[in-house]
Symmetry: C3
Subunit: 302 residues, 3 copies
Amino acid sequence: MALRAALRHKCGLSAVLTQLAVGTSHGRVSMPLLLSQQRNRSTASRVSVHFDQSTGVAVMYMQSPPVNSLSLDFLTEFCISVEKLEMDKGCRGLIITSNQPKVFSAGLDIMEMYGKTPERCGEFWKAVQEMWLKLYGSNMVIISAINGSSPAGGCLMALTSDYRIMADNPRYNIGLNETQLGIVAPFWFKDTMVNTVGHRSAELSLELGLLYSPSEALKIGLVDQLVPEDQVLTTALQIMTKWLAIPDHARQITKSTMRKPTIDKLMSSREADVQNFVSFITRDSIQKSLRMYLEMLKKRKA
Amino acid sequence: MALRAALRHKCGLSAVLTQLAVGTSHGRVSMPLLLSQQRNRSTASRVSVHFDQSTGVAVMYMQSPPVNSLSLDFLTEFCISVEKLEMDKGCRGLIITSNQPKVFSAGLDIMEMYGKTPERCGEFWKAVQEMWLKLYGSNMVIISAINGSSPAGGCLMALTSDYRIMADNPRYNIGLNETQLGIVAPFWFKDTMVNTVGHRSAELSLELGLLYSPSEALKIGLVDQLVPEDQVLTTALQIMTKWLAIPDHARQITKSTMRKPTIDKLMSSREADVQNFVSFITRDSIQKSLRMYLEMLKKRKA
Amino acid sequence: MALRAALRHKCGLSAVLTQLAVGTSHGRVSMPLLLSQQRNRSTASRVSVHFDQSTGVAVMYMQSPPVNSLSLDFLTEFCISVEKLEMDKGCRGLIITSNQPKVFSAGLDIMEMYGKTPERCGEFWKAVQEMWLKLYGSNMVIISAINGSSPAGGCLMALTSDYRIMADNPRYNIGLNETQLGIVAPFWFKDTMVNTVGHRSAELSLELGLLYSPSEALKIGLVDQLVPEDQVLTTALQIMTKWLAIPDHARQITKSTMRKPTIDKLMSSREADVQNFVSFITRDSIQKSLRMYLEMLKKRKA
């Protein structure tokens, strides 16, 4: 069923292209100041964190124009910001959202994978691993306020959260659509997907590189809740208070019990996973696919 | 979705308190004699077994006032009763139900965890493990006739069954709500939950300590069927005849194929799991939480 | 819910009997020539393959009267045909369907298990394993066009596909109903079922040997789509074009990532699994069950 709907919908390559991560459109938009009580505010160039010490909740805005693509620079800043909050005992909850219009995050930056040295590719991949490890294993409650499309690596980021709220806008979509581009989601992307939607939905989803509309995503459990677009962040803040009513210690141990086996799998083969990525992405055939894809993007832009 | 519903509903601590296991209310009610053909009846103080040799079906009534809390004494009697039926070749099916009003079982008896010596705590935990091992690995068909609320350990007991029928009374609830009390469901509680409702529902459920209304529980697969309260036991008997139409030998091997990996995990780390429980529950911080919880209960009672 | 519906429906032994695999009825029907562009056609006695080189899609018709039971001869031909297509670089997709009326495949041929030498039983079981390994690990996109009932081994065959389309005819059913016959689905049948419908549905399904109507099967995810009976094959061809739009290489690696752990489990214990089957099936008690079952079939026939 999900497949039929998704096939009807927008999983074609042309749809994928409209969200992807190569910095082609839109200027930066001004950042809404939704939190009245914010006391602490650190603004890095690609990530802006609003931490309200009175509630223990931080909101992290991704603001890397045009589509919050996960470049090495972005990931580095992002991980440092998460690490800081993780170390701050006063911070119990983190909401991740986007400051860019129409997109949560467009996923891995293709420019980091095209025409780069193996060393650089390896460094990039370690940063992707780091993001996943930090988020999926976080002691904080993490809620994704998905206020735009979220393909590939953007979907992965959302999957690491404890709870996912998505804007109920049928023009947005979410999914691990790697195969559509001729690339492959690695095993820990797959594991996170299986843990979220189950084995069969993950299989269909990953083999076909499906992108789901918000209502389809809700149906298979890829997101937990849909709300009107202007209520995504406020709902995230409300839901966060429910999560923070649970004693941290018990919740953290429970979260670890659920996720540790999946995290340990990557931890025990992290270097091999890097080598695997590097040898795959630097293949001539894959580089050729990426070049064709980038040229297609340029034409669309023109 | 389940979260939203559950959050709206009754997963707050005050709701939890109404079911918990510290012997505060209700006298024993008279035991209904529903089985006309019963030939064999052994009544222990906390568990009453009606075994009908003509059908091969035993009904076990939990009758430990006020809320069938799982104390060491209760668990010992319970396990001996199950063991007896397991050894009896004539007994093919077991229905577990409650003789106490409004509650199936309120779960682990907190008094067994508060202010006790490590040795006593260890003994108690072994009895909890024993109950789970006996039920989850039973060769009998086990059906839970859930005629009241069933939080925490009560939910675990229901989860070990082959089939769960619950009274369709919105005042009852069921779930592994340990985190609400600041404690943690151990890995084998978690595994049983994952096997029943899948990884993601289990994650949400356990992190938030959610208690589900019967209709919510049906929706996520935590129970299999809802019926009006006065039909819970009769339905269980009807469903049992369907299960007993399957050749025992084939069904038992199949059940073992499904459950053995989960059972083996506890069997291979049983002693470590006891040590883990004892060192956790005897911590000052946890004992303090339990004391506060017990004082709150006393105030409610007064 | 699924249980209640299935129990109401047709999981009784008499229903099972109507589909089972012992060659009692119907003559061979003429093979419809649905593919206009077919260029290559090899017709073996039990399997007929129509391969359209222009699309890269092969349709394999099972045509072993009366009910496509999986005999050693059938499995051998079937596996050779699949192997040939797998080796043909031009063949990217395979649709499996039936040329026999009312049945997709009735599953393992009971005559291969009754009164045979251990050696012969072992040879037969290796062929069953081979079928599963070839299909579940295939690099081709495989779609089952399930145009009739598909119990036991027939269901297993369908489960190995990437996508399952079933005729929306309530007289057909599908499921792993082994326990109804007093036999047991081995661990890799179980694993494939768990991967498709999840742990709990698989547990219920396998313990009770449930056969599901098409709509029930759709509900638990045992099949992916229902269409009117005369559109099963045409729909399969349409869906296939969607799958073939995904780059083969990426899809194949992704499929392997999803299925390799399950395949490796059998690969690493293949010989033990054969021994296990042989020692089980040659037991006096099991042979007696099979004899009684066969005699019952003869009576029904008379």
